[in-house]
Amino acid sequence: MQQAERDEVEMLSLMLLVRRFEERASQQYQSQKIGGFCHLYIGQEAVVVGAAAATRPDDYFITAYRDHAHALVKGTSANACMAELFGKETGCSKGLGGSMHFFDRKNHMYGGHAIVGAHVPLAVGMAFASKYRGEDRVTLCFFGDGAINQGAFHEALNLAALYKLPVLFICENNLFAMGTSVQRSTSLKQIVDRAEGYDIPADIVDGMNFREVRDKMAEIVGSIRKEPHPAFIEARTYRYRGHSMSDPASYRTKDELEKYRLDDPIIRLRAQLTREGKLTNEQFDKIDREAKEAALASVKFAEESAEPPLDKLYDYTFVNGSKR
């Protein structure tokens, strides 16, 4: 297999890992092993996996609360992710963050943020730091269609454009902010037009198509590295489950859901690779089985892990000392 083909099969495996992990998380939530809110990425895999394929490991990723996939693609283990959902001390945030606050400093995953839109200014600050240090690193800031109406989002876009910062804003438009459709919340005809208001170049991609996401992002990220500036992508995607585990999603029809299921990004990439002779059924079954096993193993790991100790309750409010 060629490197590029191997890479695409690897990316398909990553999409499967996300899918099977999220399915497992859903099941564990229903068994009450996971508390609070749990927002699943099922159906949207091509967006973040395409982004991972288009970027370097040292590029910064930051997102809102539908964040399990972002951590997984940056390299956080399924074990650490499931343990975090279970609130265990082996979780990626030591059990102190939960589903909405996956962080992984080593792998450049900067959260996991729960207030809609509030992380977008953080992303601008991270991009500012890269430019300040003369790095060619790019910050990828993911958010949903609901975030584009929040004040913080607007302020952040203006700052990014004003200071010419190396940040790619990616709107994962799954058509609904909880139960409110884009048409019912947004005065513009297209989300991507928001960027125009800030003089930020913008593109629309089919978020159900891994190759289209990867190629467009790679092109844009490349141009940002050459000359720091912000850019905006509206990735049109769809979530196959409700907004969160508590949402029965009665605001959309069964027909609509069925229609989008035909666009399943995993099925599409599999079909493309198979048609091109780059993937056999046996190979697919193998990588799917491995994904399922990893997801199942993560549950066992989480169950067997310890709770964070009570006597460390005050240890994570402040760090000690000052610099030098």
Partner: protein
């Protein structure tokens, strides 16, 4: 030691920390080309350049968050709010993102950011521009808060705040910017620890606990009280969080009477917390109830006389002291 203004002291602190550490930068409205709305950042743009002294648009939430993001990846931003009344637009960033990041990330991301600017009432600025925000921010775990009242404290606390690896609010006071005081020369690296109060005047009959703008008021009162044979000990908190409880208790153990004079509003004000701690920890040392002198519980009116009546003033402070002295 030489005499400089509070404003100059802050300017020196900023310049020294910018010089010392290339990761430090300053951002806020009018801090660069205008040299600061209150001239605190005078000359810094010229000396350190536009990459490090950055004018922002009027986007408090945006630039506060931007500072926090930069701090998450290791820079050390100093974010100026033109006044802390404007910080309320950035409240979500200051109370949700800055102090929570360390906990939410399981200890991975500390936020070495300093938010500074004038805080509290000034002269006839009206209800939206007169907020004393210390008690609001004090309620959020993960923030450190200091309130320098003198040039020396301003310099030493701001330098310490910038070097602290946690989010620190330096709540200055516009009405103190021109006040003068003795400060160590620039070649002495003046650092004053957070969480350490200072006895600004020793006394034996009553402890007056104060901070920021009420410090000069308390010192004036002490002068007048001396003429009436009441010896007041003035404790300048210097930091709200961490609070130097021990300094307070030491003083109360000596005098047995306390008046807290604070620039904020009474309900859930800083003095409420201090009163609770005093009666909880050293009840037996008290010879009188703890009294508080604060603003009146009304939105700040514009009219000059009314504003004076709202603010903690000499008349009310003297009356409170005499009450606890039963004189």
């Amino acid at each position: 030691m030489r005499e400089i203004t509070y404003r100059q002291a802050l300017n020196e602190a900023l310049a020294e920390e910018l010089e010392r550490d290339p990761d430090v930068f300053l951002m806020g409205e009018e801090v660069a080309e205008y040299n600061g709305a209150y001239k605190v950042s005078q000359g810094l743009l010229e000396r350190f350049g536009a990459n490090r002294i950055i004018d922002t648009p009027i986007s408090e939430n945006g630039f506060a968050g931007m500072g926090i993001g930069a701090a998450m990846v290791g820079l050390r931003p100093v974010v100026e709010f033109m006044t802390f009344s404007f910080s309320l637009v950035a409240f979500d960033q200051v109370v949700n993102n800055a102090p929570n990041m360390l906990t939410m990330s399981g200890g991975q991301f500390n936020v070495p950011i300093t938010f500074r600017g004038p805080n509290g009432p000034a002269h006839q600025l009206g209800a939206t521009h007169s907020h004393a925000t210390e008690c609001l921010y004090a309620n959020f775990p993960g923030l450190k808060i200091c309130t320098p009242a003198t040039p020396r404290d301003a310099k030493g606390l701001l330098k310490t705040a910038i070097r602290d690896n946690n989010p620190v609010l330096v709540l200055e006071a516009e009405l103190l910017y021109s006040s003068k005081g003795m400060v160590e020369p620039p070649d002495e690296d003046l650092l004053i620890p957070l969480g350490q109060a200072e006895v600004k005047r020793e006394g034996s009959d009553v402890s007056i606990i104060c901070y920021a703008q009420t410090v000069p008021l308390a010192l004036n009162a002490a002068q007048q009280l001396e003429e009436e044979d009441i010896s007041a000990e003035i404790i300048d908190l210097r930091s709200i969080k961490p609070l130097d409880e021990q300094a307070i208790f030491n003083s109360v153990a000596k005098t047995h009477r306390v008046v807290i004079v604070e620039q904020d509003r009474p309900f859930c004000g800083v003095g409420a917390e201090i009163s609770y701690r005093i009666q909880k920890n050293i009840f037996d040392e008290l010879d009188a109830p703890v009294l508080r002198v604060s603003q009146e519980d009304v939105p700040m009116p514009y009219n000059e006389r009314l504003e004076k009546a709202v603010l903690p003033n000499m008349e009310r402070l003297m009356a409170a002291v005499k009450k606890v002295c039963y004189s």
